[in-house]
Amino acid sequence: MTDHADHFEMKIPAKAEYVGVVRLTVSGIASRAGYSYDDIEDMKIAVAEACTNVVNHAYKKTGYMLLSCVIREDRIQIIVADRGESTEVSSLLENIGPIDSSKPVSELKEGGLGLFLIDTLMDKVEISNESGVAIVMTKFLHRDGVEQHVDGIPTSADKQEQGQKQ
């Protein structure tokens, strides 16, 4: 693996109407990086969830969503960040999961699936909290249909099953 990487950065007003623009951009970048249709669709959802969280939770008034992408030979890293004032977000990934179908319908929540989807659809997800929230999402590139297990990191197929069984 070489050290070569292509870097992309983008700054967009944190408004729901522009989340679709970020999806378009990411699908273009991922397509150039050689990802399959399904992987690209997964990334579009993950990045849209992260952006929607910025729109809904990061700022009291207005602000920006900050997207950066790094393409490496075997992976793409997508970072969605904001400059909001949220703190203690590192535990966010601990309380996620699918719908609990044993609950009565009236107790189901309409939200709370965003981070769970991100975690399920991407290969590796980290959240950090410096000046605002940053969510770092990684998807590995499996060339020619060969599944790669690097350091025991599950492929997207594993992840999905894992998600369904939780």
């Binding site: 679709g20 378009l24 929607t52 719908i99 939200g111 369904q164």
Partner: protein, 110 residues
């Protein structure tokens, strides 16, 4: 990036034909179209997703809300025509176990 919604009423059934992408921007439009229908006692609300190419958690949340409303108001909600990608999201999130869903291209007739 847009959403187009057409509503059709037959005897006891309301069918919504949804076309496009359901995300944080377009979801309010979907909510506005579905919710009033689910509030009618005895109503069958069929949502045809054949032409929905994209949906994310905000869109899924609208269907959870519609399900809750239909239960509270004694109406019935069903989703039909989901393509593989859209179906996959309902499975991953476990929503396929609480919402009445029909995959494939069948039209929503009783």
């Amino acid at each position: 990036m847009n959403l187009d919604i057409k509503t059709e009423h037959s005897k006891e059934e309301a069918i919504l034909y949804i076309e496009g992408e359901v995300d944080a921007y377009t979801a309010p439009q979907l909510k506005e179209a579905i919710e009033p229908l689910t509030e009618k006692d005895g109503q069958l609300v069929t949502v045809d997703l054949t032409n929905v190419s994209y949906i994310d958690s905000t869109g899924l949340g609208i269907f959870v809300g519609a399900l809750k409303s239909s239960e509270a108001n004694n109406s019935k909600l069903r989703l039909v025509g989901l393509n593989q990608r859209v179906m996959r999201l309902f499975s991953i999130t476990g929503l396929d176990e609480v919402i009445d869903i029909e995959e494939g291209k069948k039209e929503g007739t009783q």
